[in-house]
Amino acid sequence: MTASSVLVAIVIVPFVVSVATFFLPVRMSKPLTVVTGIAIFALSAALVPRVLRAPIRVGGTLQADALSVVFLVATAFLYATTAIFAAGYLHLEAGRSGARYGRLFYSGINLFCWAMVVAPVVNGIALLWVAIEITTVVSALLVAIDDTEAASEAAWKYVLLASLGLGIALLATIVMYYAGTATFGPAYNLSYAKLLAGAHHFPPAAVRLAFVLAVLGFGTKMGLVPVHTWLPDAHSEAPTPVSALLSAALLAICFYAILRFYQITERAVGSTYPRDVLLVFGVASLLLAALYLLRQRDVKRLLAYSSVEHMGILAIGMSFGVQLATIGVLLHVLSHAAAKGTAFFGSGSIVRKFGTKDMRRIRGGVGVLPWSGPLMVAAILALSAMPPFGIFRSEFLIVSGGLSDPHDAGAAILVVLVTIAFFGLSWFTSQTMLSPDPRPGGAPDQVVGAPDQVVGAPDQVVVTRGEPSVWIVVAMVIGLGALLVLGVHLPSQLSQLLDQAARELGGPR
């Protein structure tokens, strides 16, 4: 297969599968989605060596350079693992309403993943905006799919705030277009190559305005403080596979959009201005998330605030403006995807087992969940940047990059706040997972009270030792395996990919 045909397949296949799953019964959608997810991941990985030679372009609409492929691989990985996880997680009621839920769910998940894999490979900031807009449209419906009061409240906040954010992001695109009209005339296409080539002629004031609007607009969907407020609600009320995709893949895609604006802005007005903007948003996000992590009672909200934390780290890492830190940021995108996905899969297992997201009612997780319990602990440790996992390596690179400028306090702030976040996450781990087994002597099963709104959960949950589903464990093992690979020994092609993407971001030096 040529590189272009691989790219075209990546863009077409998930869409076709989404349409098909809308009509197929769930028992066929499940394996179909898993196979599609794995195939898209394999195709994305196949692009890595090719994109190292030269960027791939298909017509005027599709293009993939190293930067695109980093985000494509992260998203496709989540597509595959979430499909495996969902196969075990989803419990449908018998009858028509269950079948309808299943069809909507699978069609929605595939469409959501389609929009997310398309976003990094379209050519130009206008099409990128369209792809991200589609992710909002689909994911808002997926957040509301459970049809409970809390879910509808979360979906409303999400659709309103995300749409307002995207309105601002569209304004950013329009201002950038306007900035280009001085050079290119009133009608031109917004492809990256064209914008990057002409950027140094753009009026600086307009480019600065466009960049701030882009950070604010796409930042709303990425979860940057202070425009993050929809995020914990949507993450906690959405079905867990959707939470995993939102948190691990979608936020990164919105960061990718900001990086594209960064590239153009850097060429137009130099790197100091965009770095300062990112530093402000990054520190605010990291600070607020670290503090909120200390007082969470809901497992999924905890993981949501951890995402805000990691998005803050990404923004701060970019603000250092050092090649080493930028490589760290891109590695962080990959390792955060794997770690956050795995942690959400673990939370899905906990929610299924205990029938609640409330951490005060979850005890002895490691004893009750023989496989996913310890895996969850490992995933949380990975999220807190413990070696030997990928996030340790990426945060290490970011901090080393930041320390290379002794006058920059960013690295010090980063280390302090990440430590606070670590306390929040370890408190969760010790309270819920490593606490003593609730069943005295391991015998009679403990009865936990009425669960929160979990679709299809019975009123009383009897906690017995055992796994809710082997598929959940499989998905978690794959995620942790990837984290180990990223942390211990980065494959040489992947490391070249990150180098090249960082060079693309830094501009020709």
């Binding site: 659709v159 309105g167 009133p186 009608a187 307009a206």
Partner: protein, 221 residues
Amino acid sequence: MGSVPSTYSGTTDLLTLLVLLTEFAMLRAPLLRSQIRLYAFQSLVVTVLAIVVAASRHVPDLYALAAVTFVLKVVLVPGLVLRLMRKADTDLAGSSVLGVASMILIAILVSVFGFVTITTLHLHSDVLPTPTLAISVAIVLVAFVLIILRQDVVSQAVGFFSLENGVDVASLVVAAGLPLLVDVAFLFDLLVAVVVFGVIMRVHHGRSNTLSTHDMDRLRG
């Protein structure tokens, strides 16, 4: 393409100003229904603007956009929202944190701020009118005031819908060459907002019998 004919920029400026004025009218409209009717009127102005731009700048794509805008934003979305409200048979007056006078005052300040900010950027373009960009930024900012200061689901929805109109105005006049796909994708967002709005009306309103966002505080922290 040479410089833009002055009748063209005069017409577009007039129409965008009309959109901004409708935004102010929404802010002071006490009844939720009249808010939605004002939104339909505002969308009609945007439709006319699209036709004007299409005719004078020779962008035939924009005729299609005008047609879609008319069907969706003048007829379908306001119709659906009104129908949902009639079904819910709810309190018709919106709620706001501040009195009308102070709201209008804030909105005036905010729109002046938007106007001044864009003007101080000193963007000069021979081919595209800068004042329109400033006015559409003002529209967006006033829409934010509407969303923040009025605390009911309908005002929030209408605020978002009219913000979309403001961004639409900017894209029509300043970036007519932007792919049509962009505007159409944003229209989809409106439809999804209406769907979620419908869910809210069914699930939430069924329980609390009000459209105030005061009850939407289950999820916090």
